[in-house]
């Protein structure tokens, strides 16, 4: 962890409301958060506290109503859909609770997809390197023998390891994990988490991990709690 440099993620005063019929549901009420390169932070909170909403805002999947967001030095507060997508492809990795792998593609192709999207036309000149990189990271998550298997041919733990490899293949500055072990048994969940944190630290990515689990939070560098739409440092 390196706190002396500019934070990879710098969010200030984030607010988010949703229309629920005639009324407004204020989910986030001024969230301030800074994450530095290599820092692993656990985000805890009860169900419906807004953990996923915050992750979506930080991952540029949604836009904030109020506040500012800087990611890897770029002001992402008012980015349009295309610019946000480009920034996401370069700087953000996601690991979802439901794995969210593309069922038609095998493990290797799932891992390659973010690279294909990030590279654009330069993909054709770089694809040999990209294939090597994807195979390397799949080997690191212990799936060198399962690269040609499609998600339906893999266990839950294996699918989540593919998702971890996919999230880290682009060496993102920020890794957002939303209940990454929620669909796995304890032992498998611990294995996947260890893998995820190990690889993220190796790459120097800032990690924000949303979880209910105190034991998972204990494995992180620091822990924050989302209560009534605001963050509390623990």
């Amino acid at each position: 962890m390196n706190n002396s440099t500019t934070p990879v993620l710098d969010a200030r005063g984030l607010e988010k409301s949703f229309c629920m019929g005639a009324s407004q549901l204020r989910v986030l009420r001024g969230v301030d958060l800074a994450l530095h390169s290599g820092e692993v932070c656990a985000l805890r909170g009860t169900s419906g506290s807004g953990k996923s909403t915050l992750l979506h805002l930080l991952g540029l999947l949604d836009t904030t109503d109020v506040g500012s967001l800087h990611l890897a030095g770029l002001d992402c507060t008012k980015l349009g859909r295309t610019a946000a997508a480009r920034q996401r492809a370069k700087q953000v990795g996601f690991v979802f609770q439901q794995f969210q792998l593309l069922p038609e593609l095998d493990a290797l192709q799932n891992v390659l997809m973010p690279r294909r999207l990030a590279c654009g036309w330069s993909w054709w000149s770089r694809r040999r390197d990209e294939y090597a990189r994807a195979k390397q990271i799949l080997s690191k998550v212990g799936l060198s023998e399962r690269m040609s298997h499609r998600p339906t041919q893999l266990s839950g733990g294996e699918q989540q390891r593919v998702a971890v490899a996919r999230a880290l293949v682009s060496k993102p500055a920020l890794l957002l994990a939303d209940e990454p072990t929620g669909n796995l048994d304890t032992q498998t969940g611990n294995d996947v988490l260890a893998l995820l944190l190990g690889l993220a630290r190796e790459q120097g990515a800032a990690v924000l991990l949303a979880t209910h689990s105190r034991s998972l939070a204990d494995a992180c560098d620091r822990e924050i709690l989302l209560v009534d739409g605001k963050l509390e440092m623990l």
Partner: protein
């Protein structure tokens, strides 16, 4: 791993998309076949037309306008134009014809009366001076010979008229000996034409210019239309034509109405059948819209991984184009198979009998010509239609918010 690769991985696991490709293939195959048959018919018509009428014809300038009476002056003038292969003189004259002794020639109420165009040509080995009593030979169109029940060796009598300037024409009677029948490939021409020695008609016509048209054939690879102006100008320069007198006509000019009718027919059929292809391609809108709904979550995942709206559009358009491509490829293959086996298909459909009778449709076998340009146009237009129809679902997929797409309930 490109988006097309992903589209392919996706498409090959969706039976619905395969059905769309089959629908496009059927439309393309039908249109391919229709085009091949109509092009074949036009090509065959062109071939038979040019075979008989030549590539270009020259009508001599009327004598009153100062036209030359010497055939050689025309020959010399035309041969001086580069690209001309041969020039042949013809003398066309109308007559009523019947078998010798037939009631047809003495009783105008007879239904056995036949009008023929007597085409005087030089392609006969007939010299009247060898035997002054011998009848001039006549080649009769096969259809006319069948209709009149005439066979080689029979004698035909022709009634025509000898023109006299300023006075009533004199009826004239000529006799010919049928030597053979011919088949030009054009049923109507075979029905109303007879070929006779040009010299046998000369006494009848009393024309100062001993021909009514010159038939020109051009060298291989030369477009007759490109020589039309050159020959006209040369004839004008030599005093054998006038700008106000269109002496030179191409075979297209001569067959103008019929050709235009067939080309119109082809245009109409192509338009009609292309609508079938369009309807088949339009299915892509429904199929891809269904697929977009089915793949809502994966579209969201692609967005989360960094796919821009433009890339999502490209993915769906790739998918639609891929389906169209397979449809077009399959359709062209199927169309080729159909056109290669038209004879068998005709017999199967007709229960062992020909559906298209040669005496009606003027061809022994259904003519087929696969024109590369038409095929390329058909394939291109279908692919373009598939691409355009893919844009609507693609646009819908691209504008769906990522989070909404990923939350599947």
């Amino acid at each position: 791993m490109s988006l097309i690769h992903y589209a392919w991985s996706f498409a090959r696991r969706r039976a619905l998309l395969a059905l769309s490709a089959v629908a496009i293939a059927l439309g393309v195959a039908v249109l391919f076949t229709v085009l091949a048959v109509l092009n074949g018919f036009l090509a065959q018509f062109e071939g038979t037309m040019r075979d008989f009428s030549g590539d270009l014809t020259v009508r001599p300038l009327p004598s009153a306008w100062g036209g030359s009476q010497e055939i050689e002056t025309y020959f010399d003038s035309i041969h001086s134009v580069q690209g001309v292969a041969t020039v042949e003189a013809r003398l066309n004259w109308f007559g009523l014809v019947g078998r010798r002794g037939s009631r047809a020639l003495s009783d105008p109420r007879s239904s056995d009366l036949n009008g023929l165009l007597l085409v005087g040509i030089d392609d006969f080995d007939w010299k009247p001076q060898d035997d002054p009593n011998a009848l001039p030979p006549l080649r009769l169109g096969h259809a006319a010979a069948t209709r009149m029940g005439v066979s080689p060796g029979d004698t035909l009598e022709v009634i025509s008229f000898q023109p006299r300037p300023g006075r009533a024409p004199i009826p004239a009677r000529l006799s010919f000996s049928v030597v053979e029948s011919f088949s030009s490939g054009q049923h109507d021409q075979d029905l109303d034409r007879a070929l006779v020695p040009r010299s046998s008609l000369l006494p009848l016509t009393q024309l100062k210019t001993p021909f009514t048209e010159l038939v020109i054939r051009v060298n291989d690879g030369i477009d007759p239309e490109s020589l039309q102006t050159s020959i006209q100008e040369q004839l004008e320069q030599d005093g054998l034509a006038r700008p106000s007198w269109p002496s030179v006509q191409t075979w297209r000019d001569n067959a103008g109405n019929f050709l235009r009718a067939v080309e119109n027919q082809r245009g109409m059929l192509v338009m009609m059948f292309f609508f079938i292809v369009l309807v088949a391609a339009y299915q892509l809108v429904a199929t891809l819209t269904l697929t977009v709904t089915e793949k809502r979550r994966d579209i969201g995942v692609l967005g989360a991984l960094g796919a821009t709206p433009g890339r999502i559009i490209r993915f769906w358009v790739s998918l639609g184009t891929l389906v169209s491509f397979f449809g077009v490829s399959l359709g062209l293959g199927l169309g080729y198979l159909l056109t290669s086996n038209l004879k068998s298909i005709e017999l199967i459909l007709g229960g062992g009998e020909k559906i298209f009778l040669p005496e009606i449709y003027q061809f022994e076998e259904i003519p087929v010509l696969i024109d590369t340009y038409s095929v390329a146009l058909l394939a291109g237009a279908t692919l373009a239609a598939g691409l355009v129809f893919s844009l609507i679902p693609a646009w819908r997929a691209a504008r769906r918010p990522i989070l909404q797409a990923m939350i599947r309930r």
